[in-house]
């Protein structure tokens, strides 16, 4: 019994500890276990891969039902991103009226971090 209590107390203590990415796991900004930074990074990956001329890089915020990101191009077109809070982890990126990506966030991150042998 004493050990169970110790484990419970200890577990509680360590759940408030940590560092690195865990620090930014603000429960209000978690994107399927990832911080909102994950979404911002994936958006940046897509915009650069698609050679979008960026004036203001999108910054992302969380609304009641979705994440949204807003930026602008050099030509003053709006860059807009919407991403669902719930599964699956998908996002839609639009430049002006054109959708340039609609799909998985993690797929973008994986593709950007990998190279073929």
């Amino acid at each position: 019994m004493r050990r169970r209590i110790a484990v419970a107390v200890f577990a509680g203590a360590i759940l408030v500890s940590g560092c690195s990415q865990i620090d930014s796991l603000d429960p209000g900004q978690v994107f399927n276990h990832f911080p909102i930074a994950t979404l911002t990074i994936a958006v940046g990956d897509v915009l650069v891969a698609e050679s979008v001329p960026i004036l203001v890089a999108p910054t992302c915020t969380q609304g009641p039902t979705s994440f949204t990101c807003n930026g602008t191009t050099i030509a003053d077109e709006a860059i807009t991103v919407s991403a669902s809070i719930t599964e699956p982890q998908v996002m839609t990126i639009q430049v002006g009226a054109q959708v340039i990506y609609d799909g998985s966030v993690q797929d973008v991150l994986d593709a950007a971090s990998q190279v073929a042998p």
Binding site: R2, R3, I5, A6, V7, V9, F10, A11, A13, I14, L15, V16, S17, G18, C19, S20, Q21, I22, D23, S24, D26, H33, F34, P35, A37, T38, T40, I41, A42, V43, G44, D45, L47, V48, I54, L55, V56, A57, T59, I74, Q106, L109, D110, A112, S113, Q114, V115, A116, P117
Partner: protein
Amino acid sequence: MSGISRRRFIAGATALAAGWGLSRELVGVALSAPLRVVEVPTTLSQTIKMSSQTVRGSYRTLLAGPGEAYIPRFDCLGRAASAGRQSTRRSLLYLAHLSDIHIIDAQAPARMDAAQELAPDLLVDACRPQDVLTVHVLASMVESVTNAQTSPVTGAPLAAAFSTGDSADNMSNLETRWYIDALDGSTITANSGAVGSYEGPQVWPEATYAYHPEDPSGDLYGAYGFPTLPGMLLAAVSAPVRSAGLPVPWFAVYGNHDSTYMGTFAPDASLRAWAVGGRKAATSDGLAVAWANGLASNASALQRMVNSVTQNFGLLPGIRRVTPDPARRLLQRTEFMEQHLDTPVNPGPVGHGFTQANVDSGETWWALDLNPFIRVFGLDTCNLVSGADGAVSKTQFDWLQGQLAKCQSEGKLAMVLSHHNSTTLENPAEPVFGAGGPLIHAEKFVAMLQQYPACIAWINGHTHINTIFAHRRPDGSGGFWEITTASCVDFPQQQQLIELVDNRDGTMSIFVTALDHAADPTWTTGNYSQSGLASLSRELAANHWLENPAMSMGSPLDRNTELLLPAPFDLSTIPDELLEAEQMKATARLLANASQA
């Protein structure tokens, strides 16, 4: 040298040659050559990426990838920049930025390795597969910075380096010493406790939460596809690691792991005793009971006696006996600064930003002029009450505001250094009793920096993710750039080169270059040399799936970038002659360092 007169050049070169003990001819030739851009090994020419094919289970090796050119970012400028700036720009300062080095004494008893058993997907950094290899990585990063000692943008000489905290992993004397000695230049055997032996969870079968290089078949990592590496642990803790030391003066600030236990709270007497003792938890059960007993030991002499008996007779399950080592002691608050004062003159400066006055007063922040026109402020954003995230004390906030106002009126560019960044400067924990004053959090802090155009950059770490934010002023008249680097411990094990450039068209640029450490991108099986182990560390980190390593690289907008902003004042007031004199000093220092090497 175009701005400086011949007479001043000769006098300067002669003085620098004498000061550094170099031949006048050597210095004269080096200093008279115009700045020249040569290709230095950075991510501009080669990146390191994961293979798109797995080799065992989900495990991937790393491969060299194509280089990444600079991407201009105009967020703070509010318009596209003139294409002609490339031919008119001049370097104001070239720097290296290190952060989150996280030197780990992996065998230390007072670590929370076993906590990973409780929540492996949450406590991802309690027991990393590459924990024993952090000194090897730092030595490799020092080599990389040295290789990049001339700017890839302008050819300017490297002038200084910064370490923005979490240099040690657990406020340990040994970890702190290893990090300082590696940056100053030394030979380090990354071992504690028993000589020539690894004692810790990576060889204990019951520690199934840890990676067991000798035989991972019984742990989580083996199931993922991590390799069997016979002899790796022994090589890591036995072979001395040689670090040449940084070639330039370097400056440090506190990180939460430098000032609190596991980066989270101030240790009590029982934790301090545990750190130098001979018992280490192998399982979460053992860790929890040891923890509870440790807490209880503060209250009762009887409890302390019971703890001592049960521990010494091996009656606590999940606890292993290890060789105690007094060098593992946890540092007191000001001892971190004192350790920086116990350093050689070169690369210097003694104290690395901290002074005896800091130790005496307990003030853990500092200011310094890197040259006559750039001032840097090193903050302490760590919260000693609880929590890994940070805040700025009111005392420090007021001090910084006064200093930035001064920079503005004196026509100096200002850069702010801290460990925490704007997404992690939200720690509300204040001491219930005692001084400290109210805490300032990100929104108010950023708004204050935005008031002073002289403040061009806030440089930090903490999240282990390459990130660049533009903090534009609400009226669109500029702002400042926040530059966060990845870490040395987690993938991609990258740091940064930063150069301030005057475009001579009313704008300035901050060039950021992501820097991999010098070890080969692809680890060769069985290579347990110093650089081989650094290469292996990066590969293991890339496969630490609990961290989602794919995201820590950031996007290209967070790596090799040219960050533009309006010049905060007429930069032509900085004479070429003065810049060239500063570059002469830096070049002579690099020459002296090379000749000593």
